[in-house]
């Protein structure tokens, strides 16, 4: 029984990180129609900036905040400098974001070197505790709390604020929002940068969980985030949360019982969901 509790906690912690990565991806795709292949790179940069700042300052929260801010600024630059001129041109967007992924991954390698860098957890979040015979990582509990807090905050922002209302409407029809006198392009920069900031925070939190940061961690997690977006449905925060939990828990179980089957398991999970709900769990009919 205790192993199931441990797997449950581990799976939820992975889900929290996936949610941070996928939530921005799904809104950027749903509202702006941009399939952002550079999203995983922002996750990667979040990890590197966090490890670098933590080594410099020794302040865990400050380095998390710094990594998030770096992600926000990078996202803002990506949108303003590279993506803004190519809305409505998906092929060009794919090529540009793929190019950004390659360039900024290589730039990270140039800045921090090709080898993995060790990422340590702060003392307060190190170690384990035992509950009902199950060994539970303090850091993973922290990740679950952060993920849940972000999910709640985003839910409030999306449901109770004007900007959330415009984003929800924009995911359904950006053109109609424009025709109502709202300059939706002015929201695009903020949404892109906020999504990038969440991805960077995800990377910053991920590095101490796995014990290091390396240049390949962006693409590996980006693939998982794409699977979450497909499972959850385009443009849906709720779908991202549900997809993350499904993939996190499923992945943790498969990793324990049949480690070589993790990747295949993720893809099969996606195929199973799509065979029952082709638009994903909470998919929308999107008009552009």
């Amino acid at each position: 029984m205790s192993i199931f509790l441990t797997l449950f906690i581990n799976g939820l912690a992975e889900a929290a990180l996936l949610f941070l990565l996928a939530a921005g991806l799904t809104i950027i795709l749903g509202m702006m129609g941009v399939l952002n292949f550079a999203h995983g790179t922002l996750f990667l940069w979040g990890g590197y900036v966090h490890v670098w700042l933590f080594a410099l300052t020794g302040d865990f929260l400050l380095s998390l905040a710094g990594a998030t801010a770096a992600g926000f600024l990078l996202g803002l630059c990506f949108e303003r400098l590279f993506i803004r001129g190519f809305y409505g041109r998906p092929t060009a967007q794919i090529l540009i974001t793929l190019g950004l992924m390659i360039v900024f991954t290589e730039l990270a390698r140039l800045l921090w070197g090709p080898d993995a860098i060790v990422a340590v957890r702060p003392a307060a979040l190190s170690g384990t505790l035992t509950f009902q015979g199950a060994i539970i990582s303090r850091y993973r509990l922290f990740l679950i709390l952060v993920g849940a807090a972000f999910a709640a905050l985003l839910h409030l922002l999306m449901q109770k604020s004007r900007i959330g209302m415009v984003i929800r409407a924009g995911v359904q029809s950006a053109e109609m929002v424009q025709a109502l006198g709202i300059n939706i392009r002015s929201y695009f920069s903020f949404v892109f940068a906020a999504g990038a900031a969440m991805a960077a925070l995800g990377g910053a939190l991920y590095a101490p969980m796995v014990g290091g940061v390396w240049s390949g961690m962006g693409i590996a997690n980006q693939i998982l985030a794409f699977i979450v977006v497909v499972i959850g449905g385009l443009g849906s925060f709720g779908g991202s949360a549900a997809g993350s939990v499904l993939l996190g828990l499923g992945g943790a179980a498969i990793a324990w019982f049949f480690p070589p089957g993790v990747v295949v398991g993720h893809v099969l999970l996606m195929a199973a969901v799509l065979s029952f709900r082709p638009a994903g769990l909470f998919g929308l009919a999107v008009r552009r």
């Binding site: 209302m165 409407a169 029809s173 109609m176 424009q178 025709a179 109502l180 929308l284």
Partner: protein, 238 residues
């Protein structure tokens, strides 16, 4: 008196297709201009081009003398052009209240008054105020789309096929709503349902293959069976 909206020799492409090749129309304050024509004549494209959703390739669009050509659609809306698209443009996952809120460019006393007025005009919307728009019937969705376009002090409102897909009894309600609202607004209406078009229209413009081929007062069109048969496919009975 100059027209509120003037479209002159409008030309526009959709992809490689030269859909509008010379559309001209004008509507004066307080009038309802009806744009008629067979399927594919360019009616919807005309409204979308006026609204800035399709680029202008040539010609002139002017709102009270000021050119709209080349402006983004949010600027055109803010200058005073309301729009009810063919598919209604309702945000299904927003409530009726949120759909109306999005349509309000200002939240001053006048705007709140107009919102209360449209809710009086469409009591179904008041009842469903806090419900998701996805739960509305086809007629209620059309009411919501029309109500949303009238929340602002628009100079002109473009309405695209409001009767499309609605049962005849619901079309009657839409007609009554437009008749009520035309008292306060200048309207350009695209409509295939000739009974509705003739009930609300003051002037007509007939499009054919992307060009305006005839126009005049609605009363004149009603008497001209030959013209109705030629351009609208209606039986030319004596």
């Amino acid at each position: 008196m100059p027209p509120v909206l003037e479209v002159k020799d409008l030309s526009a492409f959709i992809g490689p297709f030269h859909v509008l090749q010379g559309v001209s129309l004008e509507v004066h304050a307080g009038e309802t201009a009806v744009v008629l024509g067979r399927n594919g004549a360019g009616k919807t494209t005309t409204l979308r081009t006026i609204m800035g959703l399709i680029p202008v390739a040539g010609g002139r669009i002017a709102l009270e003398g000021a050119s709209l050509a080349g402006l983004p659609s949010h600027r055109i809306a803010r200058l005073g052009v309301g729009y009810v698209p063919e598919d209604r443009g309702i945000f299904d996952l927003l409530t009726v209240e949120e759909n109306l809120q999005l349509g309000m460019m200002r939240r001053d006393r006048a705007a709140i008054g107009r919102r209360d007025h449209v809710l009086d005009l469409f009591p179904d919307l008041r009842i469903a105020y806090r419900r998701l728009a996805s739960t509305l019937s086809g007629g209620q969705r059309q009411m919501l789309a029309i109500a949303r376009a009238f929340l602002n002090d628009s100079r002109v409102v473009l309405i695209d096929e409001p009767s499309k897909g609605l049962a005849p009894i619901v079309v009657d309600r839409v007609r009554d709503a437009i008749l009520e609202i035309k008292e306060h607004r200048t309207i350009v209406l695209v409509e295939q349902n000739f009974a509705l078009a003739s009930a609300v229209g003051d002037r007509y413009f007939i499009l054919n293959q992307g060009m305006t081929v005839d126009h005049g007062p609605m009363a004149g069109l009603l008497k001209d069976r030959e013209l109705l048969a030629k351009h609208l496919g209606m039986a030319a009975r004596p």
